[in-house]
């Protein structure tokens, strides 16, 4: 089967200072990939590299069967992207529907209004994250967790083949967190690639298909149960980490640098 994401020896640098070194991994369907690592590990850099927004100094990147370095725009049009929420000014005068419809911008011709089809896709996406009754509300009036769900709905509205999410769980209430993880799992099962960045592994240990532990280089990559060793996690986070098993569930202690 064609891999959803394939990286070979990818190195990315900012002004000569490497942020990612010799990254190689391969993800196949169903592909809920969770990328974890401490602040500054290069997680956001990895997402931007997958989109061709940053050019690696070496290596090969194939996303959805497309060579990113040759054809970045083709990849981007298949992607739903959810940026870190702090990058967005919530006081902007936008309604929830305005934000979700943004996901349809590149689907509708220049100078065209949004069509019925666009509006339907947007409403359906908002329903998936459980906020359909907030369609006409101001974005700024929602809670942080709800705003995050609207941003995810925007990404879903474009009917993406691949979802990239940058720390969608940080600063989000428990209810929103459950909704978000449920939607992502469902999308992955339906064949949409999902790459989610997080600095806290706990909520997703049971849900992920793959985990990539990143700290400038690949510290660990594989199925969740395989890479969850104390040594690997401690290396990923630059500090001592403990794993506690409670019945079926694993917990990583000390890994969340924000806790």
């Amino acid at each position: 089967m064609r891999p959803v994401i394939l990286l070979e020896n990818v190195t990315v640098a900012y002004n000569g200072e490497p942020a990612l070194m010799k990254i190689s991994f391969k993800v196949e369907e169903p592909s809920f990939l969770v990328v974890a690592g401490p602040n500054g590990a290069g997680k956001t850099t990895l997402l931007k590299t997958l989109l061709g927004l940053l050019k690696p100094i070496e290596g090969k990147i194939v996303v959805l069967g497309i060579n990113v370095l040759k054809n970045p725009l083709r990849v981007r049009k298949l992607v739903g992207y959810v940026p870190q929420r702090e990058r967005i000014d919530p006081s902007m005068p936008m309604l929830v529907k305005d934000v979700v419809l943004m996901g349809r911008t590149t689907k509708t011709g220049l100078g065209r209004l949004f069509t019925k089809e666009d509006i339907e896709a947007a409403k359906k996406a908002l329903e998936l994250v459980g906020l359909e009754e907030h369609w006409d509300e101001a974005f700024s009036h929602l809670s942080g967790g709800q705003q995050q769900r609207v941003l995810i709905a925007r990404a879903l509205a474009s009917n993406p083949k691949l979802l990239l999410l940058d720390e969608p769980l940080s600063g989000v209430d428990a209810l929103s967190q459950n909704v978000i993880l449920g939607v992502l799992r469902e999308m992955a099962d339906r064949g949409t690639g999902v790459v989610m960045v997080t600095h806290d592994l706990n909520p997703i240990l049971e849900l992920a298909d793959y985990i990539l532990l990143l700290n400038k280089r690949v510290v660990g990559f594989g199925r969740p149960n395989k890479i969850l060793s104390r040594e690997v996690l401690s290396e990923a986070y630059n500090r001592s980490v403990d794993i506690v098993r409670v019945g079926e569930t694993c917990f990583v202690l000390g890994g969340d640098s924000h806790a």
Binding site: K77, D98, M102, A138
Partner: protein, 285 residues
């Protein structure tokens, strides 16, 4: 005394000022939300330099203004795209450069004070028919640009990063928006002059922001405030025999100050005063 309001030169002035008010309200909303007001000020000064330079060389001043403001728009947009240089430094230098250029071209003209004065504070009462035609076509270009690229502009204003990640050519739309701001500055130059251009681009939109939770409402209110500034300013300037452009600028700024107090977004103690509370509740939705 009010029949003077309907004298042909006043009517022409009002038409021109309304044009300027409406365009700046539309583009101003994007300018304010994207934090590009300082860039607007710098471009306005470039358009002044362009007008004076063209005047000194016996060309059409508004074309000179167009050329130089576009050039500066491109330069500032380029440096914002390609990072590496801090934006406030780029703007500071380009502001100084265009002001120096303006002062230099000023010394080349014989009609020293009068010409300088008209482009510094505008000469809305002196607009000719051909001015109105030129300004209308510039204004139309701005409006068409915003209407055509409205959803793209909205996306990059709210979230440039996601827009780019999802395949929008954000660089193109960024350049385009900044060039429309430049075009608006040229329209403003003739009507209110380079000093007041920024007031007209920023103040009505910033006032509208205080009462808006969506972009369409913000643009609509912004137009309303801009038109009110023009009409009220014109009226006051006739009644009190004041120059019209600065009076319009004062009204626009005054509306902004009142908006801050009445804002439905801020909690200012003024809302404890019963009259103000009633107004606030009426404007809230």
């Amino acid at each position: 005394m009010l029949e003077i309001m309907f004298a042909p030169f006043i009517v022409k002035a009002v038409i021109a000022a309304l044009l300027a008010a409406i365009v700046s309200a539309v583009i101003g909303s994007f300018t304010v939300l994207r934090g590009l007001s300082t860039m607007g000020a710098s471009i306005a000064h470039a358009s002044l330099a362009g007008a004076l330079l063209a005047f000194a060389m016996k060309y059409e001043p508004l074309l000179g203004a167009l050329a130089l403001s576009m050039l500066f728009a491109l330069i500032t947009a380029y440096s914002s795209e390609h990072g590496g240089v801090r934006m406030d430094i780029v703007l500071g230098v380009s502001f100084g450069f265009s002001s120096a250029l303006a002062a230099l071209s000023l010394s080349l003209t014989r009609e020293y004070t009068t010409t300088a004065y008209t482009y510094l504070i505008g000469e809305v009462l002196g607009v000719t028919d051909s001015d109105i035609i030129l300004l209308s076509s510039y204004s139309l270009a701005v409006i068409i640009g915003v209407v055509l690229f409205y959803k793209e502009f909205k996306f990059i204003t709210f979230d440039m990063e996601a827009a780019q990640a999802m395949g929008l050519n954000t660089s193109f739309y960024n350049y385009l928006m900044i060039m429309l701001i430049a075009l608006t500055c040229v329209v403003e130059l003739k009507i209110v002059g380079s000093i007041l251009a920024v007031v007209f681009i920023v103040a009505p939109a910033a006032s509208a922001y205080e009462f808006s939770h969506d972009m369409e409402r913000m643009i609509g209110l912004s137009m309303l405030f801009a038109v009110a500034s023009v009409l009220l300013g014109m009226l006051l300037s006739i009644v009190f025999n004041l120059p019209s452009s600065p009076t319009m600028g004062l009204v626009a700024s005054a509306i902004y100050m009142v908006s801050i107090v009445l804002s439905t977004k801020r909690r200012i103690c003024a809302c404890r005063i019963p009259v103000i509370r009633t107004i606030r509740e009426k404007t809230m939705r």
